[in-house]
Symmetry: C2
Subunit: 341 residues, 2 copies
């Protein structure tokens, strides 16, 4: 549909058609008692679970450029980024609310593509839209509140890491930053090889099954998702737990740079280790496992993609041990919107 909107109700109608939603009064036994279309949604939570809640903004010009990003990736990523905070607690994503502010020129085809991406993410994650707010604005502005469920007492916080715990990370780090650098250089989704490299930045995968598995088995003492970069997020986990950490540089799983792209990175003074340490938006899980649990980790979903990258220590220092065995202090160098002002 490339027709502009006549009114707000049409917009809500289009959202509800494109994205898995709860509308009106639900069937009995549905935890959602009332969905889209009233002043608010009503939820009657299951008695054996806790609700996990988080919200996340995606703003044009800050988190994406509406002109150079595929619209479906903006919708896909906005929801996935928010749901990643649920994975980081070991919760199962269930419901979400969407605040969507749009300029008129984005209410036609762009909106359809955006909603298609968000609908795809919602189906992959098993989430339903239960409410929101829509308005017009000069730029696209999205805020998503996600609700997940976790069995009582089993959510994994940032604050439980203890000296001696082994520090793990899922996947390879720096992949999203490579994609971002390529888009800055004008790469598009056009060629198959570019598409593969852009994937991590435009359509990130998150680790719901892994997070749930770790929580349900009480395998991890602390966990978070890496959204602002390993160096920044590890500092947060350590601060919350009152501990330090020692990272082994050689062990940190990093992006493989295609030959054709090495020039681009050299120009920006980037290398795979630096991108793995400070690049943001990988949405991989960072978690700590007591030594006694390490063997049982082998049956984790996606175990082959897990890497032990260091260990938790007493004190507050975070150090990086190089290939030469020398340790130096690792300062947070990831994304902070307000740094150094």
């Amino acid at each position: 549909m490339d027709r502009p909107l006549d009114n707000e109700d049409q917009l809500i109608e289009r959202i509800a058609r494109a994205v898995p939603s709860s509308r009106g009064v639900a069937r009995s036994h549905d935890e959602v008692r009332l969905g889209i279309g009233d002043d608010a949604a009503i939820v009657a939570p299951n008695r054996t679970t806790e609700w996990v809640l988080s919200c996340d903004a995606s703003l044009e010009g800050v988190h994406f450029l509406a002109g150079s990003y595929p619209a479906d990736s903006v919708g896909f990523k906005a929801l996935v980024r928010a749901a990643s905070d649920l994975a980081a607690m070991g919760a199962r994503p269930r419901l979400f609310l969407l605040t969507l502010a749009l300029p008129t020129k984005r209410t036609g085809k762009w909106l359809d593509e955006f909603l298609r991406g968000m609908g795809r993410a919602a189906r992959q994650l098993g989430m339903r839209l239960i409410g929101g707010d829509t308005t017009r604005s000069p730029t696209v502005s999205i805020s998503i509140t996600v609700l997940g469920e976790v069995a009582r007492g089993l959510a994994v916080r940032r604050s439980g890491a203890r000296p001696g715990d082994i520090l793990y990370v899922s996947g390879r780090l720096g992949r999203a930053q490579l994609g971002l650098e390529m888009i800055r250089q004008g790469a598009t989704n056009a060629s198959a090889s570019d598409r593969r490299l852009l994937q991590a930045h435009l359509y990130p995968k998150i680790r719901i099954e892994l997070g749930e598995w770790l929580a349900r088995r009480k395998m991890a003492t602390a966990m978070m998702d890496i959204s602002d970069g390993l160096s920044t997020d590890l500092a947060r986990l350590c601060a919350a737990s009152g501990v330090g950490a020692r990272l082994w540089a050689e062990r940190i799983p990093r992006v493989k740079i295609p030959i054709a792209r090495t020039g681009l990175l050299r120009k920006r003074r980037l290398d795979p280790l630096r991108m793995a340490l400070h690049g943001g938006e990988d949405y991989e899980l960072l978690f700590t496992v007591p030594r006694k649990n390490v063997r049982r980790l082998r049956s984790a979903p996606g175990f082959a993609e897990l890497t032990a990258i260091g260990e938790i220590e007493r004190g507050k220092r975070i150090t990086l041990v190089g290939a030469d065995g020398r340790a130096k202090r690792l300062d947070p160098g990831g994304w902070d919107p307000f740094r150094g002002e």
Copy 2:
């Protein structure tokens, strides 16, 4: 504090200090198991209640002008507007999440004032902040998700109005629009008489006690808050209920225009009835009461401020009966961000 920020953690620190918040792990028996400072908040709902959820955006240039609105009113109103959707269900406001995007120039004194206003609203409403997301952006962009509680099955929806029900409204309508027109003409908070007139636009009162009272006693068959104007919101209530309505123009409680301001309104072709019918942001409650309940309404909180303005009818027409007894169709004329494009 008029110092810019060094990092995002400082911003979160300032928010948590200024606004009633749940931080870290809660005491036992607190429904909030984990508050600000982790990937997500954890809530263990009470077993006899349902949760009511809604979200609301407040954007610079759309909902307010950061230059001409007092910063504390932006913070106050952002939360109150969102909580009004809870009042409209008969729910008690409890918790909220805040997405806050700010330009650097708003991170000093403006932010302090903004948070002071939001803190005041939170204390008045008995709400606590449990999480959120902060980032930088060229203009101020706020999205708030509110959670309220209501006894199982007692939330009042839009869809229950039946022919013969009496239609009530709280307060006087059009007050917020008068304030908006005055601000457009350059009025400030400076003089005491202006301040009183601006109050409804800058620091709206919402009807939590009334909403709860109506819900708990099953007095109302349908209810919503008037945020986009009576004509627009009544059309939504009627559509959701599958009914029509007849309004008595003479009975609609409207704003009193000070002599000094009549010229301003004439220039804009506004009059009190038009403002009462189509003016937005009054956040008064619109609700329907079966005739058998009308007498019991006398013990409602703020009963003196309630007015019967019409009745629900069969069919889908909404008509306005003038002083001369003639009925004409009332079309939605309130605020719609996407109308007529």
